[in-house]
């Protein structure tokens, strides 16, 4: 299908994303060096059964609760003791191309940076990570692996992208959810300008398969507070019609729409017991990513 507003990722954007690998390293290295616990460690390690303690078993696997009740040493056995498997779903639809004046980067660049950073963190701790780029279809898929070269492969995929598709089209998210069979950690990195029903359905699917899902919602500050003053012609990305308007008169109604949208997204995430984090592209990626990782770490320490 020939798209008239076909957008190839601009060169400078491509360059910046190409440096993702280095960027991700510098972003995260400082943050997690000295951390004794990983923010992502051990999600998918599933308890299978107890067996009696024998010589040679590590003490840390002793289930002290059982000891407390029965006065016997039992060791927890896990069904799958492989490393964590994570998948980044990155939205590469045309709307991700938007970059307002205050933004540090376009939404896509931002999303790619986040994806690379997460990949780096996971690979560092020998977890496997994969990447899926999607618009109305799945455009690229990199199978999860913990190989150190994976980060470079992912960065390459992220920077060689043409942004022209429409995530608005129904169906892609649920389909993706369907395809992810192995239990793991799923990051959805998108502006979520998708049909809400799709999103909810996809979340349900993912939860149904016992994935741990983190929704990383990337938005431009312009989209959040609509600061336009002069007469403006808004040209719809993703094949939506143009709109000639006086932005000041539309602002209140628009903000109301956005508020409703954000509310619904958050509610959907809460209902599905899915982590929801919003990223504002005007905040430097380093700041927001480190903030998110810290938050994540803190929560783990706190109790899960």
């Amino acid at each position: 299908m020939a798209n008239p507003t076909r957008t190839v990722l601009p060169d400078d954007v491509r360059d910046r994303i190409a440096r993702l690998e280095v960027q991700a390293v510098s972003l995260v290295e400082g943050l997690i060096s000295g951390m004794h616990k990983s923010p992502f460690h051990g999600f998918s390690v599933e308890f299978a059964q107890h067996r009696e303690y024998t010589w040679g078993d590590e003490l840390k696997h002793v289930d002290w609760k059982v000891f407390g009740r029965t006065d016997r040493f039992y060791v927890k056995q896990y069904e799958e003791e492989t490393n964590l498997q994570a998948m980044c779903l990155v939205d590469q639809s045309e709307s991700m191309l938007y970059r307002g004046e205050r933004a540090q980067a376009s939404k896509y660049e931002y999303a790619a940076t986040i994806a690379a950073a997460i990949a780096f963190v996971l690979i560092r701790q020998q977890d496997s990570v994969g990447l899926t780029l999607f618009d109305e279809e799945v455009q690229a898929r990199i199978a999860p692996t913990a190989h150190p070269r994976q980060l470079r492969t992912m960065a390459h995929a992220l920077s060689h992208v043409e942004l022209h598709g429409e995530s608005k089209r129904a169906g892609v998210l649920p389909r993706l959810a369907e395809e992810l069979r192995r239990r793991g950690l799923v990051f959805v990195i998108s502006d979520l300008f998708v049909p809400l029903d799709d999103f909810v359905t996809a979340l349900r699917h993912l939860r149904h398969r016992r994935h741990e899902v983190v929704v990383l919602h990337v938005l431009d500050p312009d989209e959040l507070d609509f600061p336009f003053q002069d007469n403006t012609r808004f040209e719809g990305l993703e094949n939506l019609p143009h709109l000639m308007s006086d932005p000041r008169s539309l602002r209140d109604a628009y903000l109301e729409e956005v508020r409703t949208f954000l509310g619904e997204v958050e509610r959907a995430c809460t209902d599905a017991r899915v982590d929801y984090v919003r990223f504002d592209t005007s905040v430097a990626p380093a700041v927001s990513i480190s903030q998110y990782l810290r938050m994540r770490l803190k929560r783990r320490k706190g109790g899960r």
């Binding site: 709307s95 007469n231 808004f234």
Partner: protein, 504 residues
């Protein structure tokens, strides 16, 4: 129809189109944004479209109206009562009464026109306003100095037009304004009028001079208030319109007279004038101009006149021809013209012919009875006195043409032809009698006094004769000479030796 003071500005109403043009131009200038969150924007637009359109329309309308309003403000519409009459509570018609203060002070010119001219302008405007919009109203006009109305209550018709033409010629009177009396009189007339409308407005057009409105004792305001309060409050409204100015400058010529009794051709005549400063500030460099009919002679300016003071100036003027002449002395520059000029009418004579009758003509210098008198009346040098004396002996007197002389001097004449002199005196001739040793007093008493019926108003006593007779004729003792001064002949001193001890 509403009228506009600056009707020409209404053309600028085209500016109403300006906001529309700006709106259209603005629509052509826009930014382009490639927008991701288009769904929300479209939804917002769909919800808002009607409201936004209405808002835009209203804003545009308000802008256009604002332009129109500004243009109307500059054009200054005047709401005429024709329109106001339709408002609830508006009265049908009103009788407008103008009482015009036409006192002399209304001629005071300040700010390029006199108070009186401003008052006339106001009357014209009221009349025009009535003609254009208040045709049911009546207008009457009274002047403070006149007993009768100048314009009886009339609707705005031809008669009023005639009146307005007459109004052009009006000038301030020289009287002062009796505010209380005039108001009482006008109020009496107005309230007595039968067909007049119920509602009346009395306009007092005045310059509000202290003298007319406060009075010397300060009692006038009270009296005025009394008069006004006596009028029915609901029906009569008073409107005092101050057309005067706050300027207080005023100079006046209070006197202009000749310093001498005789005005003669070629003889410098002294003129005396007094100028008073009625104002509150010292007047400096006061210019006076003498208008003689042929020329305007500026007098040297008076350096300064303090407020309230009067300054006297004396200057000479020489007439170059005889006849009845008018002199006008004018103040060159003063706001109140009324007291700025004084006129003087003078009978300027070519010369004054007098007849000297010498009763004792003797040869030799200054020996004749009339010699000194002749010198005194017509000095021998260039200084012109204008007097032309002819000398005759008593015997020549009956033959003389008395009518051509202004005065006859009898100098030591024994007796005269009383009937001829009587006729002469009765016609207005002057007669001077100098007595001497040759005089027959009895004959004088008989012929000239005639017991009160003659040409002399008094008779002669005899006592003096006794004293006179004691003086021996040969050794005349002359009286002390009296100096006779004239500016041109000030160095000359002559003595009168005509009539012995009698003549002083």
């Amino acid at each position: 129809m509403p009228t506009f003071l600056n009707g020409g500005v209404l053309g600028a109403l085209a500016l109403v189109g300006l906001p529309i043009a700006i709106h259209l131009l603005n629509r052509r200038r826009f930014k382009v944004v490639r927008w991701g969150a288009m769904e929300f924007l479209l939804a917002a637009n769909k919800k808002n479209r009607k409201r936004v359109r209405l808002e835009h329309f209203l804003v545009l309308l308000l802008r256009c109206l604002a332009m129109a309003l500004i243009v109307f403000l500059v054009a200054r519409p005047v709401a005429t009562s024709g329109a106001l009459n339709y408002l609830p509570g508006a009265r049908e018609s009103v009788e407008r009464v103008i009482l015009l203060d036409d006192s002399g002070s209304m001629g005071y010119a300040a700010a390029r026109s006199t108070a009186f001219a401003r008052a006339k302008g106001l009357i014209r405007r009221i009349a025009q306003d009535m003609r254009s919009a208040r045709s049911s109203d009546l207008l009457s006009v009274y002047r403070g100095s006149k007993e009768q109305a100048d314009l009886p209550p009339s609707p705005p018709n031809e008669r009023m037009g005639e009146f307005l033409t007459q109004l052009e010629d009006w000038a301030p009177s020289e009287a002062s304004f009796d505010a209380v009396g005039a108001l009482k009189r006008v109020l009496g007339r107005v309230l007595a009028g039968e067909d007049a409308p119920q509602r009346k407005v009395i306009y007092l057009l005045t310059d509000l001079r202290q003298r007319d409105w406060i009075g010397d004792q300060g009692l006038l305001p009270k009296a005025l208030a009394q008069v006004m309060r006596a009028a029915p409050k609901d029906d009569v409204a008073f409107l005092i319109v101050d057309v005067g100015s706050s300027e207080r400058r005023n100079l006046g010529i209070t006197q202009f007279a000749p310093g001498e009794k005789l005005a003669m051709e070629g003889v410098p005549l002294q003129l005396v004038a007094k100028v008073k400063n009625h104002g509150t500030q010292t007047a400096v460099d006061v210019q006076l101009v003498l208008e003689t009919g042929e020329s305007r002679v500026p007098w040297p300016p008076i350096a300064s006149i303090p407020p309230g003071e009067e300054v006297e100036v004396r200057h000479r003027y020489t007439f170059t021809s005889a006849g009845v002449r008018q002199l006008v002395l004018r103040l060159a520059e003063d706001p109140l013209a009324l007291d700025d000029a004084r006129a003087l009418a003078l009978d300027v004579r070519e010369r004054l012919k007098v007849l000297l009758v010498d009763g004792d003509p003797r040869p030799g210098p200054l020996q004749a009875e009339t010699a000194m008198l002749q010198l005194a009346l017509a000095p021998a040098d260039d200084s012109a006195s204008g007097v032309e004396p002819d000398v005759v002996t008593p015997t020549e007197l009956p033959g003389a043409e008395l009518r051509s002389y202004q005065a006859v001097f009898l100098c030591n004449v024994e007796a005269v032809d009383a009937s001829a002199l009587r006729t002469y005196v009765e016609r207005g001739g002057g007669l001077a009698v100098f007595l001497g040793d040759a005089v027959d007093l009895e004959a004088y008493r008989r012929d000239l006094y005639q017991g009160g019926q003659g040409s002399c108003p008094a008779t002669w006593a005899s006592a003096s004769r006794t004293r006179a007779s004691t003086t021996p004729r040969g050794s005349r003792s002359r009286p002390r000479p009296t100096p006779w001064r004239r500016p041109s002949a000030a160095n000359t001193t002559r003595s009168c030796a005509t009539c012995g001890a009698r003549c002083a």
